[in-house]
């Protein structure tokens, strides 16, 4: 089976799951239901794509397949912001807050934090990715130890609101925010195109890349910034889905059996969209909101990944 075929299969799967979600159980008021669901599907495509894409790029930069961009503390910062709002102003403030302000504040703070981190560590020449990650982990731990302390002493009723925020949800995507996100993501995507060609070389490591004429440090810095922008936007839009990126990137490597980024990235994006659509379908129709998207994705994705590993092994 060649790579185009494999991509084709993934594309069909993605469309199939989106179709399932859009049209099953549609009821008599389809003119109300369809646009609503279309909006959610749009959010799934955006977020799924952004997360899969940024994780693959991040793993290439760091040369480490167990990492996701959230390791530098972005998710922890997002949760700290939410917890802090509830802790200081009460859950009503968070619930009734203007969605635009909330979005801009969350995304803005994450980007500001990451820029600060980069400024601190990528000023000079040289390979500082290792230090960047360590410092990111330290900050992430700092954020989450503060928020888990507040979560521990907070009223359980208030905690439920925080808990809600900590599970990504596509059910109440704000229309204005969707528009803003589309514009921003498209802009980031256009910015990325110039760097696309470097990715395969960068995955060889810094020394090889420099030898082959890639301005490694500059390219990596820009790529990291793209990753942070994408993650911040998608997290602020629907909430953190920490594990999705790791899962789809690794399934993509295992399924596509190649290391070419021109194939891995579309593969990962399609897998991500398909699994989000499938999970959204299961949550809304089968489990009737008794569980969350990440539970389903982690379970099915994890099982599938281990199945792929074991299957590949048998044929050897």
């Amino acid at each position: 089976m060649n790579h185009t075929w494999r991509l084709g299969i993934l594309g069909i799967l993605a469309v199939l799951f989106i179709g399932l979600y859009m049209f099953i159980d549609i009821g008599p008021y389809w003119d109300y239901v369809l646009p609503r669901r279309a909006k959610q599907v749009l959010a799934i495509v955006l977020v799924g794509g952004a997360i899969a894409f940024s994780t693959v790029v991040f793993q290439t930069i760091t040369n480490n397949r167990i990492l996701t961009p959230s390791i530098i503390g972005l998710d922890a910062l997002y949760m700290l912001i939410q917890t802090l709002i509830v802790f200081v102003f009460g859950s009503m403030t968070l619930v009734t807050m203007n969605a635009n302000i909330h979005f801009l504040m969350s995304a803005g703070l994450m980007v500001v934090f990451a820029s600060f981190l980069f400024r601190l560590l990528l000023k000079r020449e040289g390979n500082h990715i290792y230090f960047l990650l360590l410092v990111g982990i330290i900050f992430g731990t700092f954020f989450s130890s503060i928020s888990s302390f507040m979560e521990m002493i907070i009223d359980p009723n208030e905690f439920v609101v925080i808990q809600d925020q900590s599970f990504a949800s596509f059910n109440n995507v704000n229309e204005d925010l969707l528009m803003i996100s589309i514009v921003m993501l498209v802009a980031v995507g256009l910015y990325f195109i110039r760097y696309m060609k470097y990715l395969d070389v960068i995955s060889l490591g810094r020394d090889h890349a420099l030898n082959l004429g890639v301005p490694y440090d500059r390219v990596v810095k820009h790529l990291l910034f793209i990753v942070v922008l994408l993650i911040s936007i998608s997290t602020a839009l629907v909430g953190p889905i920490t594990f999705l990126g790791l899962l789809v990137a690794n399934i993509a490597y295992q399924f596509m059996l190649t290391h070419k980024h021109s194939l891995i990235i579309p593969g990962a994006v399609l897998i991500s969209i398909a699994s989000l659509a499938c999970a959204q379908f299961l949550v809304t129709r089968v489990f009737t909101f008794e569980t969350t998207i990440s539970v389903i994705i982690n379970f099915l994705g994890g099982v599938y990944f281990i199945y792929l590993l074991l299957k590949e092994n048998k044929s050897w």
Partner: protein, 317 residues
């Protein structure tokens, strides 16, 4: 800094730790053997267990973190990566749902059994996946952990237990008294074995081919290492909760300053882990005396400052 200085600091801190607390016990009383019965009682039933569990937790988590990173040749693998943590969480959930009236030690033993079973399954999967690439050890661990974790979250979400599980695993030493911490002694022999195997772990960290070439039973050593890691992590996390930094940042900092020869860096890591956690605990008890700040918070705040300083200073040099 020489290891001997660290050892002295640790001893001083340990003695300090024994005499910090709400009820007043002074060193001179102990030396002149003029302790009242109730003072003895406090020392024996509360202060000593607390000190022992602090040291075991500090030494244990940082040492198994170092071993894990060495075996997987990946600096960002923490001891909880092997799926142990998630299996333990499942165990906590099961004991919370089914054995509501059991004592906390029984619940901990229950969760411990789950953690071990989970590790066993993880090793079975790992065994089936040929060691083609060392990246698969943490990767399988992460994936397996997330499968188990999603099952836990599924039921915990339904029964509104997420906050309770979180509270159980939040690092806290204030509840440690006789009868609640004995599980931790299990990790002592495991750590001794770890030290005896240190050289083998170092070699195993050089890769399967290389270590087989040197006459090492690679698979056996990796399995022993993983078992030690799982055992120690499960015991510590279930008794005192999760401590940030110990498993990941301390081994990394030691390896930046000291290199990757485990025989040399293990004692250093162990001492640093114990000193760090003891300091945080003592400060947490002193800052708002007679109340105390949970150690999870002091560790998070102090640790961030100290380790950031160490990292940035090293880089500037």
């Amino acid at each position: 800094m020489k290891t001997i200085y660290l050892a002295i600091i640790l001893v001083v801190l340990s003695i300090t730790s024994l005499f910090v607390g709400v009820s007043n016990i002074s060193i001179s009383d102990v030396l002149t053997l003029s302790l009242t019965d109730s003072q003895w009682q406090i020392l024996r039933a509360s202060r000593m267990p607390r000190l022992v569990s602090l040291i075991i937790a500090g030494v244990g988590l940082s040492v198994v973190g170092l071993i894990m990173q060495q075996l997987t040749r990946n600096k960002f693998v923490s001891p909880t990566t092997a799926g142990t943590m998630d299996s333990a969480r499942l165990g906590i959930l099961v004991s919370m749902l089914l054995f509501t009236s059991a004592s906390s030690l029984t619940k901990a033993v229950m969760a411990f059994a789950f953690a071990l079973a989970g590790t066993f399954v993880f090793m079975k999967i790992l065994d089936k996946v040929k060691f083609k690439d060392v990246i698969f050890v943490p990767l399988v661990g992460l994936m397996f952990g997330n499968i188990v974790g999603s099952i836990t979250t599924f039921f915990a979400y339904k029964h509104d237990l997420i906050q309770s599980i979180g509270a159980w695993l939040y690092g806290d030493f204030s509840g440690i008294i006789t009868g609640r911490y004995e599980l931790m002694y299990i990790s002592v022999p495991a750590l001794v074995i770890a030290y005896m195997f240190a050289n083998r772990f170092t070699i195993a960290g050089m890769g399967e081919d290389f270590s087989t070439n040197l006459g090492l039973k690679y698979k056996q050593v990796v399995n022993i290492g993983l078992t030690i890691v799982a055992l120690v992590t499960a015991v510590i996390v279930l008794t005192v909760g999760m401590m940030p930094f110990l498993g990941l940042i301390i081994p990394n900092i030691v390896s930046i300053y000291r290199g990757d020869n485990l025989r040399l860096s293990l004692p250093y890591t162990a001492l640093l882990g114990a000193i760090f956690i003891l300091t945080c605990d003592i400060l947490g008890r002193l800052i708002i005396h007679p109340y105390e700040i949970p150690i999870g918070l002091t560790v998070g705040v102090i640790g961030s400052g100290v380790f950031l300083y160490l990292l940035l200073r090293r880089r500037a040099a």
